[in-house]
């Protein structure tokens, strides 16, 4: 039972972390605490942290056959980034 309770605590902590991250991100945008040049990267960094939490903790990406699961998501992410990058270049 101990192990299971641990898991429960972990879930809750991570959930609270995600909410806090969201609020901080929200706060950063409404104030001008960080210069607008760096802000986008900070916000994206926060998003990535949240996503990693979801994938690892909530979705068990590293469990059985994690190899294939990670390959699938990382591959898709790679192609998504490639697409976004070259589509974004169209702006210029």
């Amino acid at each position: 039972m101990k192990k299971e309770n641990d898991h429960l605590t972990k879930l809750s902590i991570m959930f609270v972390t995600m909410i806090i991250l969201t609020l901080i991100a929200f706060y950063l945008v409404s104030s001008d605490w960080i210069s607008t040049n760096v802000l986008p990267y900070v916000l994206l960094f926060f998003a990535v942290i949240q996503v990693v939490i979801q994938l690892v903790l909530f979705m068990d990406i590293k469990e059985k056959e994690g190899r294939y699961r990670i390959t699938s998501v990382v591959g898709g992410g790679f192609i998504a980034l490639l697409t976004i990058f070259f589509l974004a270049l169209l702006k210029m």
Binding site: Y68, G76, I79, L82, T83, F86, L89, L90, M92
Partner: protein, 649 residues
């Protein structure tokens, strides 16, 4: 009554002819099915979840589409046979419809599903599995493909075919320039078919990862299986990009977004998305063919494949690089020069793994005792043709040169050398090779050779002159060209070649008819003169519904060949005989496909109640499936033993 007659009078003659032939075909097939009491038989195929039957249906349906698109190719060539020619109705608008549907059907409804069909039959046999991982989903893929295919094909007689080329570039494809249902068929039809393709790919991936016989490590898999694994990964990603492109076009045409418009948005978005899909698609239809040739060349040379490991890595590398070259289709749209240089480099890079493969095939043949049966002939024809197509590909990959070649007949020549050279030759090779496995009869060798030589000679006569036409400046997608520019005789030769190819296809059909009607059953597991090397040749031809009565023991990459070397008749199987559990057949995939078809018509013609009805049907069938208990049926042990030991044959 009068108004209906009036309506028919307004129709052009080709559509009337198409209507009439459709009616005749429907009546004739209904009549024949009733006369020979084959409706139940037909239904048992439609609802089947057996991967072999599904594969065969894939092959059959895409072959029908091949005939249709091939007919269009002949019409194109007839219109272009002479300068300033006016053949039947195929000028201007109608000509655009011909080329657009020819390209669309050939790529999406012929090349891709032909390979998927063949691999559907072969991959589970090659890895020693009893079926694919998801037999139900397999059938669903088939029916989504058929629904999408019907939609694209029916457009010709119902409202007009897509007419903006197989690439359907915006802004021409937008409502503004091509109103009416024509170009709406394209995104809707392909969306449905594409959905099926993605599901099929996931099915292959999981099957290959999880259902291999014990001992069949990844590096022991035959190359057909390997190539299908990588192809499936490409499909999962590339067809998702296509799905978004099609969704975007649907939004533009039906819901009034202005993302692709040249004034308010940016038409290049379509080109990017389309080619992010489009170039990997080229490898999706080439890699499985490479796999087939690897197996065929090794079998008919009676030698182990040279450089197996490098072959595998070449496939993976090609798959990876395939995603990084798409801008070579867009060199001339005015992106910045650095982007062009980057993509020119990646394009050239991809020639390296491809070259490795070519050399490996040549080294496999070197010193082998080669038999020149039809599958092998096609493999040899492939090597020659594909190298030529590859050379023109590298030429096109050089940016300044592409400014000359772009949108000329040079490109048409290049793409046919690559696609027919790899995919169509590959499928024909594979079909001749595995026909006895699928149907238990060898295709006639003599007709096979006739088929090969007419098709290949016809091919080079059709497409070689197109290089020269292109260099002389003839643009693609034009319905005529002026006299006195020296293009006339080249085009005429090309048209003659096209008819020779047509004869080749006819001989192929004749071969199938004669073989089915008069051919003898082979009764052997390995009908290719004991040259078989892989697991599919260790089981009866055609295999029983469960493929393998017991689990094959795999200790090497070429289990059957090693058994032969040890003077054994067949490989060893392990375990006791037991009752075999089979998935039950299901009519749901068929109905879901039909629901999609209904919904699609609703979308194309913007009849919203019909679309809603169709989508409701889709969700209903999904819900039913979710609640179904998925118990299959069991084949009793004694039947399995009976068949496996050959008692009673």
């Amino acid at each position: 009554m009068d108004s209906i007659l009036q309506y028919f009078r307004t129709l052009p003659s080709d559509i009337i002819l198409a209507d009439i032939s459709l009616v005749i075909i429907t009546i004739a097939s209904t009549f024949l099915l009733t006369k020979y009491k084959k409706w139940n038989w037909l239904w048992s195929w439609i609802t089947s979840t057996d991967h072999k039957k599904i594969g065969i249906m894939y092959l059959f349906v895409s072959f029908l589409f091949f005939l249709r698109a091939g007919l269009e190719a002949l019409l194109i060539r007839m219109q272009l046979a002479f300068p300033e020619n006016e053949f039947w109705v195929f000028q201007g608008e109608r000509f655009n419809q011909l080329t657009s549907t020819h390209g669309t059907v050939m790529i999406f409804l012929v090349a891709t599903p032909l390979l998927i069909g063949l691999m559907n039959v072969i991959v589970p046999l090659q890895i020693g599995a009893r079926d694919v991982a998801f037999p139900f989903m397999n059938s669903l893929s088939l029916w989504l493909f058929i629904s999408g295919g019907i939609l694209i094909n029916v457009s010709f007689i119902a409202g007009g075919s897509p007419n903006a080329g197989w690439t359907t570039y915006a802004p021409l494809s937008l409502k503004e320039f091509t109103p009416g249902p024509s170009n709406t068929y394209y995104p809707i039809g392909l969306q449905v078919a594409g959905l099926g393709t993605i599901m099929g790919a996931i099915n292959f991936i999981v099957t290959i990862i999880k259902m291999r016989a014990p001992g069949m490590k990844f590096m022991r898999m035959p190359l057909s299986t390997w190539s299908m694994l990588i192809t499936s990964v490409l499909i999962v990603y590339a067809f998702s990009a296509l799905a978004v492109a099609l969704l975007l076009l649907t939004f533009e045409r039906l819901f009034g977004t202005v993302i692709l418009s040249s004034s308010a948005g940016n038409p290049l978005i379509w080109q990017h998305l389309f080619w992010i899909f489009g170039h990997p698609e080229v490898y999706i239809i080439a890699l499985p063919a490479f796999g087939i040739f690897s197996d065929v060349i090794s079998t008919f040379s009676k030698k182990k494949l040279f450089g197996y490991t490098s072959m595998v890595f070449a496939i993976i590398l090609i798959g990876f690089l395939g995603f990084m070259v798409w801008v070579h289709h867009m060199f001339t749209v005015g992106l910045n020069a650095n982007i062009n240089v980057f993509f020119a480099l990646t394009t050239m890079l991809i020639a390296i793994p491809t070259g490795i493969k070519i050399f490996n095939w040549l080294f496999t043949m070197r010193g082998g005792s080669i038999r020149f049966d039809t599958p092998m002939l096609y493999a040899l024809g492939f090597i020659v043709t594909f190298v030529m197509g590859g050379v023109t590909g590298v030429m096109l990959g050089s940016v300044p040169a592409d400014y000359q070649y772009h949108d000329s007949y040079f490109v048409v020549a290049h793409l046919h050398y690559v696609i027919i050279g790899a995919t169509i030759f590959g499928v024909l090779s594979g079909v001749y090779y595995w026909w006895p496995k699928m149907f238990g009869k060898m295709l006639n060798e003599k007709l096979g050779k006739w088929n090969f030589w007419t098709f290949v000679i016809g091919f080079h006569f059709t497409f070689f002159p197109m290089h020269i036409m292109g260099l002389m400046g003839m643009p693609r997608r034009v319905f005529t060209y002026p006299e006195g520019e020296g293009l006339g005789w080249l085009n005429f030769v090309s048209t003659c070649g096209a008819f020779l190819m047509g004869i080749g296809v006819f001989i192929f059909m004749l071969n199938i008819y004669i073989t089915t009607r008069y051919g003898k059953s082979v009764q052997l597991n390995d009908p290719w003169m004991k040259r078989g090397r892989t697991l599919e040749w260790t089981i009866p031809s055609p295999p029983p519904p469960y493929n393998f009565a017991r689990t094959p023991i795999v200790t090497s990459g070429e289990p059957l060949w090693n058994a032969y070397e040890n003077r054994k008749e067949n490989i060893e199987f392990e375990g006791e005989y037991e009752d075999i559990h089979m998935p039950s057949s299901s009519s749901l995939p068929f109905f879901m496909g039909m629901a999609f078809l209904i919904a699609s018509f609703g979308f194309v013609f913007q009849i919203w109640w019909l679309a809603t009805l169709g989508m409701l049907g889709v969700f209903m069938t999904m819900a039913i499936r979710s609640f179904q208990n998925k118990n299959g049926y069991s084949i009793p042990k004694k039947n399995v033993i009976y068949h496996d030991k050959g008692v009673g044959y």
